[in-house]
């Protein structure tokens, strides 16, 4: 049983560019959450998707957007990249009624 998978593993972008990160949830999970983990800090909640809709959002600007597909996989898009967007982006999946979330290995984004 495959766990949560994310792609790509690493990404280097230039300030002002746009980036798309991808996530496939654990089998049987229908809810996907995205977190940003800056160096030396704990993960911060970005948003959560369920039934192809964003249903909760953290304190992140509109430059951060997402999408969930019918197969429950998800994308995170970040526009107009800033140096401060450099971080590890983590995807977590869960069953809608469950409280625990299972994380993928993350995508390391570096903005230069």
């Amino acid at each position: 049983d495959a766990g949560v998978t994310q792609s790509p593993t690493h990404l280097i972008k230039t300030r002002g560019q746009q980036v798309t990160l991808r996530c496939s949830p654990k089998s049987g999970h229908d809810t996907v959450s995205w977190y940003q983990q800056a160096l030396g800090q704990g993960p911060q909640f970005i948003f959560q998707y369920y039934e192809e809709e964003e249903r909760q959002r953290g304190n992140f600007p509109d430059r951060f957007s997402g999408h969930q597909f019918p197969n429950y996989s998800s994308e995170l898009n970040v526009n107009a990249l800033l140096l401060g967007d450099s971080a590890l982006y983590l995807c977590a999946s869960s069953e809608d009624t469950a409280y625990e979330q299972y994380f993928g290995p993350g995508t390391r984004l570096t903005v230069t």
């Binding site: 977190y35 704990g42 993960p43 909640f45 909760q56 977590a92 409280y99 625990e100 993928g104």
Partner: protein, 115 residues
Amino acid sequence: AQSVTQLDSQVPVFEEAPVELRCNYSSSVSVYLFWYVQYPNQGLQLLLKYLSGSTLVKGINGFEAEFNKSQTSFHLRKPSVHISDTAEYFCAVNRISGGYNKLIFGAGTRLAVHP
């Protein structure tokens, strides 16, 4: 608002010694509590969780944690650590807002096990 405080940013310990990683939370409602471990250059792995029932919960790799409602704490313990336990440990609270849930994390505790 809910928050999580991990009281130690770093904990050095010798191999086979016991260890306790401290976590306090603030919340005005019932909470669900978790410990995750993060090995270098990897994602987060769920160590253990408290949802209800017994306040002493056991997890993987010999770790356990005790939920103390009166002290709003959820400290992680292991009686004898191994070199392989060297990692970053995160305490998290599940916040239920508007019927949907999200995790609020502490800043992490770096456990360094020395031979």
